[in-house]
């Protein structure tokens, strides 16, 4: 008999199986605008059916990381009385807390026979244990560890399954009307991912740009009009990562919509952002863009190295309309590939770029060159007399109230001459040029470093940095020597 009951019960949910498809979302026409700093603006136009007077409307299926203080509802012919965000969640412990002073049913199961007995109990307190009054006795729930089930007659009204947004509206007339709910939420973010395939022989790159957006919410945004904002409101644009040293950010205007200072990247078509999903949509694909490989080395201070140091391999290209990628580039990671001898693309390194205006020159450091190395050495440190004099002291002396005379003291300026040598070696079968930078020139108290001799003419890139283009023959080496005169 019981077996039959079980099978009936088993069949009953079979009928319910068709419902395993997701419940229809309460969201209406959704548009999602995602910023770079884990922030998104959701605009959700739903149809509300309101009665004349004060209505209480619940808004299910909002993002679970909603910032409730940013909620705004715009609806015609109704004014907002109050807005509530209730997050007192329904749970067994919340249930028993709300049952204090009320009567519940206890079902005791005899562990030996399995027989059930029922009794009514009044909940007195729930502090570190549930204190019950059963008849005239006071006891603690499950103090003996034996099975006791608690059965409630009803659920308290203010406990909810999920945090719920509810808004009370004063409608000036009954009927159905559209209402736009907008709010900010976290848990949605995006960045760009670029794939650059470098053809060294042709000195070109093929670049694909992908928008990568992430939804860490448990809520889907179905068929959403999605807009991506290249920027972080309140945080500014960020640094200049990826920009070639010595170049200015580009000044060209990309053919994209702007939001204030930021560029907008519309996804193009409506997309469904599933819960816990990372989604990529293409936004850029250009081929045959001129690109060149550079070798860079920077010595931060006048120091020696006992082992040679590899030069950095840098890929340089432009985001300009002419001879470049022709777009403003949102911040992200550039991954660089190169084809191996069998023609298969292989990864050779990656780097980050910041939001880059169109017309900029980029320099992406992908890694270190195996075959191009630099060995810096301090060859000499010597004190030199410059033949220059500087006034170091000045006195006004008056003897017995007489006319004051001025006495000055001058010292000869002493300089230290640091002779550096940079041995650049190249084990590649073709000549290379290394952009060698010595930094730290303006990092002294006196700010008057001079370069008194150099074996290759350099260019002063800034007060602190001097750059030499060192050409090294195939399977050969070049030594650059430079003398710096400083005041310490």
């Amino acid at each position: 008999m019981r077996g039959l009951a079980v099978s009936v019960l088993l069949l009953a949910p079979g009928a319910a199986l068709a419902q395993t498809a997701p419940q229809p979302s309460a969201q209406g026409d959704v548009s999602v605008t995602i910023y770079n700093n884990d922030l998104a603006l959701i605009q959700d136009t739903r149809r509300l059916t309101l009665a004349n007077g004060v209505n209480r409307q619940e808004f299910p299926d909002v993002s679970d990381r909603i910032r409730p203080e940013t909620v705004r509802l715009s609806v015609d012919g109704a004014s907002i009385v109050e807005q509530n965000f209730d997050y007192d969640l329904l749970s067994p412990s919340a249930l028993i807390q709300k049952a204090v002073g009320q009567t519940i049913t206890l079902v005791r199961t005899n562990p030996a026979t399995g027989a059930e007995t029922r009794e009514r109990a009044k909940v007195l307190a729930t502090n570190g244990g549930v204190v019950l009054q059963i008849g005239n006795n006071i006891e603690v729930l499950r103090d003996d560890g034996l099975p006791v089930r608690v059965v409630y007659d009803s659920l308290p009204p203010n406990l909810r399954a999920r945090p719920t947004l509810s808004i009370s509206l004063d409608a000036s007339g009954g009927g159905t009307r559209p209402a736009t709910l907008s709010y900010l939420t976290t848990g949605l973010g995006w960045n760009a991912d670029y794939v650059a395939l470098f053809d060294e022989a042709k000195s070109t790159i093929d670049v694909q740009g992908w928008v990568t957006l992430r939804n860490d919410n448990n809520v889907a945004f179905t068929n959403a009009d999605t807009m991506l904002v290249a920027g972080a409101p309140g945080q500014g644009r960020g640094g200049n990562a990826g920009m070639a040293p010595g170049t200015l950010p580009g000044t060209e205007n990309a053919r994209r919509a702007r939001l204030g200072d930021f560029y907008l990247y519309p996804v193009g078509h409506r997309i469904t952002i599933a819960p816990n999903q990372q989604k990529q949509v293409s936004f850029l694909s250009v081929g045959g863009v001129p690109a060149r490989k550079l070798y860079q080395y920077r010595n931060d201070w006048y120091g020696s190295s006992s082992d040679p140091v590899s030069a950095a391999t840098v890929l340089s290209f432009s985001s300009s309309k002419d001879g470049g990628l022709g777009d403003a580039l949102p911040a992200g990671t550039v991954r660089v590939y190169i084809r191996d001898a069998k023609g298969q693309p292989q990864f050779i390194g990656e780097n980050r770029i910041d939001h880059t205006p169109m017309g900029s020159t980029l320099a992406i450091r992908t890694g270190e060159a195996f075959d191009v190395k630099i060995k810096p050495a301090v060859e000499k440190r010597e004190k030199i007399n410059s033949g220059e004099w500087e006034r170091t002291e000045k006195f006004r002396i008056s003897i017995d109230g007489g006319k004051p005379t001025t006495v000055e003291r001058e010292d000869e300026v002493t300089y230290w001459r640091t002779t550096m040598s940079y041995t650049v070696t190249n084990a590649r079968p073709e000549p290379v040029t290394v952009d060698l930078v010595q930094a730290g020139l303006d990092r002294t108290y006196w700010h008057d470093t001079r370069v008194s001799a150099e074996s290759i003419t350099g260019e002063q890139r800034s007060l602190d940095e001097r750059l030499w283009h060192v050409t090294v023959p195939a399977n050969g080496s070049t030594v650059l020597t430079v003398a710096f005169d400083t005041r310490y």
């Binding site: 997701p22 969640l89 693309p345």
Partner: protein
């Protein structure tokens, strides 16, 4: 019959209701794995076999029949530590509309959460009789407040009673998958079979070169053999893979986060109950132990006896198949001679280079600063063809063996960084015992500006050795005189000599302090 029906219904429930067709590619036809060394691991440190910090580029060829119209192609059998944003799919005739990594995983939590407000079955087993009872219930709380259920007109919880209870769901909710799954969306004009190339980066791999150096009897040359040692901890094995390793240092960005993010915590379903009375039973137990009522745990077993010192011997690698080298931009790529299986949780070795008769001479070098002399033994050779080398040498460890009475014994371990052709390769063998350098300084008067130093190098071996030293001075110091002519190296005064067998070599020099007194 009923089981079959149920299965059918479950399958029907698992199918999406959208118009797009889902095509599943179960695994690759051909796979190529390129391993990259952890860029932040020093040459001295070993591969972390539990959590290798290097990575790999996996390139897979897959054959898929795509239908006409909108379709989703799901890729199964990809590496577990995939970096999804690096995934590239090529070969789709009509391009990729979007790429997705769905991480809504089938878990206790997601099952519970998706069943909110729905009818489920609660199976309650009578502990006395063992009989199970199935009850219809409706879930009323979300996973954050689990679990409150409605049984008919009354409300209760799950398992707070102490009775065995379980929720039985009627199917798998749509969109939940067993593993994070990569998929692409495409819209083809006509049905056709296509060969796709899927490539992506994945963490959980590492490799290094391992050099085995067998010194010859002359003490000036060696037979050098190198292995490529690679390790994988990925859950997926790559069977019959074209395997490559890339040598050189690659730039990685800090935000390269591999694999699933917080999926475990997102899968955990905590069941809550009302507060149970708690008594400090632990204290009562300890009191019992103190009284001797509870037996103390048994003494730990004695430690194993120390291992016998191993007589290391090296297998002579004759005619080993070696990886072939090629340039990859500014990096070096080594292609394995045959397809191998990069197995899950394994380490594998393949020959990298075999260079018999390499000129590798021992040199004792010191760095001297005032009266301190640090002496190291180096095995030095120039990486060129004349010396028997002349190939790029990737970073790795080196084990040096020496022939002692016909037995190859380990004499030292070392490591080198990436070494290009024509570069000086130096294996640092540590502080020697047979050669030492002492520096003694003297001043005629305590406030003398000039200090005299005597460097004495002793050699207690029955053969002469090459000795080099770099004497480092402060900016305000000058080398005033020396008993032998000194050169310059790396910005320091440099002296080299031959220390005779069982003999000494000396250098005296004087340093002047140019500071004004």
């Amino acid at each position: 019959m009923r089981a079959a029906l149920l299965l059918l219904l479950v399958l029907a429930g698992a199918l999406p209701a959208h118009a797009q067709t889902v095509v599943t590619s179960a695994g690759p036809d051909k796979v190529s794995v390129t391993l990259y060394r952890d860029p932040d691991r020093g040459t001295q440190s070993a591969i972390n076999r539990t959590y290798p910090q290097g990575f790999a580029l996996i390139t897979e060829t897959r054959t898929v029949t795509i239908p006409a119209g909108p379709a989703v192609i799901r890729f199964e059998g990809v590496a577990g530590n995939i970096l999804p944003e690096s995934a590239l799919v090529s070969g789709l005739p009509d391009g990729v509309e979007e790429k997705n990594l769905d991480a809504n995983l089938l878990s206790p939590r997601s099952l519970f959460d998706r069943a909110l407000g729905r009818r489920v079955l609660v199976r309650r087993t009578n502990p006395a009789t063992g009989k199970a009872q199935l009850l219809q219930a409706t879930l009323r709380s979300s996973a954050d407040g689990a679990a409150v259920l409605q049984f008919g007109g009354v409300y209760g919880d799950l398992r707070c009673s102490g009775l065995p209870e379980a929720i039985v769901y009627d199917g798998v909710p749509q969109g939940l998958s067993a593993k994070p799954t990569l998929s692409v969306k495409t819209t083809a004009k006509a049905e056709r079979q296509v060969t796709l190339t899927l490539s992506y980066l994945s963490g959980g791999f590492d490799w290094q070169a391992d050099y085995v150096i067998a010194m010859r009897k002359d003490g000036q040359s060696a037979d050098l053999f190198a292995w490529i040692t690679l390790a994988s901890t990925d859950v997926t094995s790559f069977v019959d893979a074209d395997t490559q390793v890339v040598a050189g240092k690659i730039n990685r960005t800090a935000n390269s986060n591999y694999g699933p993010r917080n999926f475990v915590s997102a899968s955990y379903l905590p069941l809550q109950c009302w507060p149970l009375p708690e008594y400090d039973l632990e204290a009562a137990y300890s009191a019992d132990v103190m009284r001797g009522a509870v037996p103390a745990p048994p003494a730990p077993p004695p430690p194993p006896p120390p291992a016998e010192p191993m007589a290391m011997s090296i297998t002579t690698i004759s005619e080993a198949k070696l990886a072939t080298a090629e340039d990859l931009g500014d990096l070096k790529l080594y292609r394995f001679p045959a397809r191998v299986t990069v197995a899950s949780q394994s380490q594998k070795q393949v020959g990298l280079m075999n260079k018999p008769g390499v000129k590798l001479s021992p040199v004792y070098v010191s760095d001297i600063m005032r009266e301190n002399a640090q002496t190291t033994l180096l095995l030095r050779g120039k990486n060129n063809a004349a010396n028997g080398l002349g190939a790029a040498m990737p970073a790795g460890k080196a084990a040096v063996f020496s022939d002692v009475d016909g037995q190859m014994l380990l004499v030292g371990e070392s490591a080198i960084d990436d070494k290009a052709v024509d570069e000086l390769v130096e294996f640092r063998m540590g502080q020697p015992q047979s050669v030492s350098a002492r520096v003694v300084g003297t001043r005629r008067r305590p406030n003398d500006r000039t200090t005299g130093y005597t460097l004495t190098v002793t050699n207690n071996q029955p053969w002469p050795v090459t000795y080099e030293t770099k004497i480092h001075l402060y900016d305000y110091e000058k080398m005033a005189r020396s008993s032998s002519r000194l050169g310059r190296k790396d910005g320091a005064s440099f002296w080299t000599t031959i220390v005779p067998a069982n003999g000494t070599a000396t250098l005296s020099y004087a340093v002047r302090d140019d500071r004004k007194r």
